[in-house]
């Protein structure tokens, strides 16, 4: 029997997830030895028509990173679903929508107006906008259709497993690959990371406030951050209480608060709402005017509470843009 076939694909993503594979360092050689890569646009020159020729489910597993926001990303995700035994949503964007998902606070027209017209660095006197089809002497050039809404991978195709993180850390990737190769995967739909909140393993947890403790919400650039003390206790928004553990606390170790890239634990549907609940609990006042003042001091609650998870949230996008 030949080696299992594996595909890597990227949708709306930054390339950091691809970098995460490279970050496996020498361990990547073990992976390459054990599998036969059939698609990896960022690194190898395979074509989509090569994938179309494969039998259904001939690819053992496809790792897809990035959110879905164009018809091409949707089509290729669907093709890979058909040709693969397993689909793994790889990284925050495929899992939850990620940073590109914040575009769900606006729509396509607003994005295009900004990017091709209104941004201060843009000079576009002729009003040139990208078109789905442009005729040139050599024939028609086409671009994918750009959607109003950014989708998580599992809103477009059936997903078997999730590897969370922006980007996923090497130990989780290796563990997932080992589980796939040895056939020791958990129940379908599992997020392949510990199912507990980040605070549980945070080394600052000793100073985490148990009850009402903060009178003022501050932003990271406004204060000198104490490298030992719980961010929340310092009045800094840290999504640790509403975020899954397993990242290795890379941000916390760099003295930056958690922004929630691992998504919520399995018991939580809406990460932002759950964090809102936790934050409101530790605001130390029962005076209505003061409550209003403190909540108003949070400039962009939806943007920060759904930093990585807007398309996966209950409301998914802004209405009436």
């Amino acid at each position: 029997m030949g080696k299992p076939k594996v595909a890597f694909y990227w949708c709306a993503s930054c390339g950091g997830c691809e970098e995460a594979f490279v970050d496996l360092a020498e361990d990547i050689l073990k992976v390459i030895e054990a599998v036969d890569i059939v698609l990896w646009p960022v690194a190898l020159d395979f074509k989509i028509k090569d994938i179309e020729k494969l039998h259904d489910a001939e690819i053992a597993v496809s790792f897809i990173n990035g959110a879905v926001r164009t018809d091409e990303q949707e089509d290729i995700s669907k093709l890979l679903r058909k040709k693969s035994g397993l689909i793994v949503a790889f990284g925050s964007c495929a899992h939850l929508g990620g940073i590109p998902g914040l575009a769900n606070f606006v729509n396509r027209d607003k994005i295009f107006d900004w990017v091709y017209k209104n941004a201060p660095s843009v000079v576009n006197n002729n009003g040139v906008f990208p078109q789905k089809k442009t005729g040139v002497i050599e024939g028609d050039l086409t671009l994918p259709e750009f959607y109003d809404t950014v989708y998580t991978l599992d809103q477009v195709i059936d997903v078997d497993y999730y590897i969370p993180g922006c980007a996923p850390p090497p130990d989780l990737i290796l563990k997932a690959i080992e589980a796939i190769l040895s056939g020791t995967l958990p129940e379908k739909g599992t997020v392949l990371a510990p199912d507990r909140a980040l605070c549980e393993t945070c080394k600052r947890r000793e100073t985490k406030p148990e009850k009402a403790a903060i009178k003022e919400i501050k932003r990271v650039h406004q204060v000198m951050l104490d490298p030992e003390r719980c961010f929340l206790d310092q009045g800094i928004i840290c999504l640790g209480p509403a975020t899954r553990d397993g990242c290795g606390e890379r941000c916390i170790n760099a003295n930056m608060p958690c922004r929630g890239c691992f998504g919520p634990t399995s018991r939580v549907v809406d990460q932002g709402a759950k964090f809102l609940s936790a934050l409101a609990s530790i605001i130390d006042t029962n005076d209505e005017a003061e409550i209003r003042k403190i909540t108003n001091s949070i400039v962009d609650p939806a943007g920060i509470f759904y930093y990585y998870s807007l398309p996966a949230s209950m409301l998914r996008r802004k209405l009436n843009v």
Binding site: D71, E74, F129, K132, E145, Y147, L276, A302, L315, R316
Partner: protein
């Protein structure tokens, strides 16, 4: 249930499921059996109201008030006020289903040039 037990997810779920308005009624401040469940609700309420407005849901669609078991008149008045408010706002635009993208519904050509 105690207003302090209202998980913000319940409210978002109500809006997601088709509610045009959500009214939270708690015990008066100082009357809480658990001492400050209603104050917790109050803190969550103000933050949540700001959050839903960022999603394009008018703040007036979410309301919190205090009504005790013996305040039948206030209960009726509060409900009627809320119904008036929601009627005046009209139905909330529905969120499309999770399962389909907008593929083929928008043509890039339609984007105006200039």
């Amino acid at each position: 249930m105690c207003s302090g037990r209202i998980d913000p997810q319940f409210i978002l779920k109500a809006f997601q499921s088709g509610a045009d308005g959500v009214l939270i009624l708690g015990c008066h401040p100082g009357d809480c059996h658990y001492k400050e469940g209603n104050y917790k609700a109050l803190r969550r309420f103000y933050l949540l109201r700001k959050l839903i407005s960022q999603f394009g849901i008018e703040e007036e669609r979410l309301k919190l008030d205090w009504v005790s078991a013996s305040e039948a008149d206030k209960f009726v008045r509060t409900i009627n006020d809320m119904v008036e408010t929601v009627k005046a706002l009209g139905p909330l635009k529905r969120i499309p289903a999770h399962t389909s993208t907008e593929k083929g519904t928008g043509d890039l050509q339609e984007i105006k040039i200039g």
